[in-house]
């Protein structure tokens, strides 16, 4: 079960012998240029680092840069790593330093809504529908949404469908992508997302809904629509 919780950080505790040995072995492999070791490390920590970085800087893009810089700083710092803390603690301390420095550098704090102006073609501030769905006067669908084939819950996704959805989410406007990722992929609650991004509940809900309707639209041709 995918959990969005952060790894426990106990800065005061010395690592136990097992951890020290594992860390020392990993550091050796990294210093020897073992790419698999580095890929494993990224897979383990990259997302958690991103979420922590996001608390320091104003956008997901900046958080991504902070984490990229953190990984390089980690590699450069390896000669100085003595095992007095765990490698995990070392890594997160580097992240915090990089994130704070970056935050200071970003002299002006841009409000989230100004950083990502809404540029999609959905109508109005709130309603999640497209022009042409409803007449200007009267409230019935002009043409009802076409039927999708039933998607049984236990059927594994084809890789084609999976790639289509990943593509649809990856190409959303950044503000929408951020909210749908935090809500529907990471499982954060609405209130947590509002706190993380510094946006109102209404704003969060509108962005989420726009994102979902965009992805639905991208999926529709693929879902066996029958006229």
């Amino acid at each position: 079960m995918y959990s969005p919780r952060m790894p426990e950080l106990d800065a005061a505790a010395r690592p136990d012998e097992t951890t020290r040995a594992e860390d020392a072995a990993l550091v050796e492999r990294l210093r020897a240029g073992d790419e698999m070791a580095f890929a494993d490390l990224i897979a383990t920590y990259h997302n958690a680092l991103l979420r922590m970085a996001r608390q320091y800087v104003d956008s997901a893009a900046l958080a991504g840069e902070v984490v990229q810089d953190t990984w390089i700083a980690l590699l450069d710092s390896l000669p100085r790593f003595e095992g007095r803390s765990s490698l995990q603690t070392w890594l997160f301390r580097i992240l915090m330093n990089v994130a704070r420095a970056r935050r200071r550098k970003e002299a002006r704090s841009i409000p989230f809504s100004a950083a990502f102006p809404s540029a999609d073609n959905q109508s109005g501030d709130n309603p999640g529908f497209y022009p042409g769905w409803f007449p200007r006067v009267g409230g019935a669908w002009i043409t009802g949404p076409a039927r999708w084939e039933d998607q049984p819950e236990d059927v594994a996704l084809s890789s084609e469908t999976h790639d289509l959805i990943a593509q649809a989410v990856a190409t959303l406007p950044p503000s929408q992508r951020e909210v749908i990722t935090l809500r529907d992929i990471d499982g954060f609650e609405a209130e947590e997302v509002c706190n993380l991004l510094g946006i109102s509940d209404t704003n969060q809900r509108v962005l989420l809904h726009r994102a979902r309707t965009r992805v639905r639209k991208a999926l529709a041709p693929h879902m066996g629509e029958r006229p």
């Binding site: 990294l30 073992d34 580095f38 990259h46 769905w133 409803f134 996704l157 749908i180 992929i185 879902m223």
Partner: protein, 85 residues
């Protein structure tokens, strides 16, 4: 609002429906409309399916370009630092 919801009004309320923030009164009208409207029921089902499918993604799926860039950076670091044999 009073009386029955139109489809257009319902669609405008869908985000609140999914968030669970409709008042009981409006929610009752919402449910009543869906019970009798195949178009709206179908649209909501499609959104539910969309949400479920998005939920099968991992953050890696939308972060792949970043991972490739990092591995490239590792190789650059390797050659700078003279790591490996």
């Amino acid at each position: 609002m009073s009386g029955n919801l139109t489809c257009k009004e319902l669609v405008a309320l869908i985000s609140e429906y999914f968030e669970g923030t409709l008042t009981p009164d409006v929610r009752a009208r919402f449910d009543e409309h869906i019970a009798g409207c195949g178009n709206c029921a179908g649209y909501i089902a499609q959104l539910r399916t969309t949400i479920r499918l998005v939920g099968t993604l991992r953050e890696d799926d939308v972060e792949i370009p970043a991972r490739e860039a990092l591995l490239g950076a590792f190789r650059d670091w390797k050659s700078r630092a003279g790591a490996g044999s």
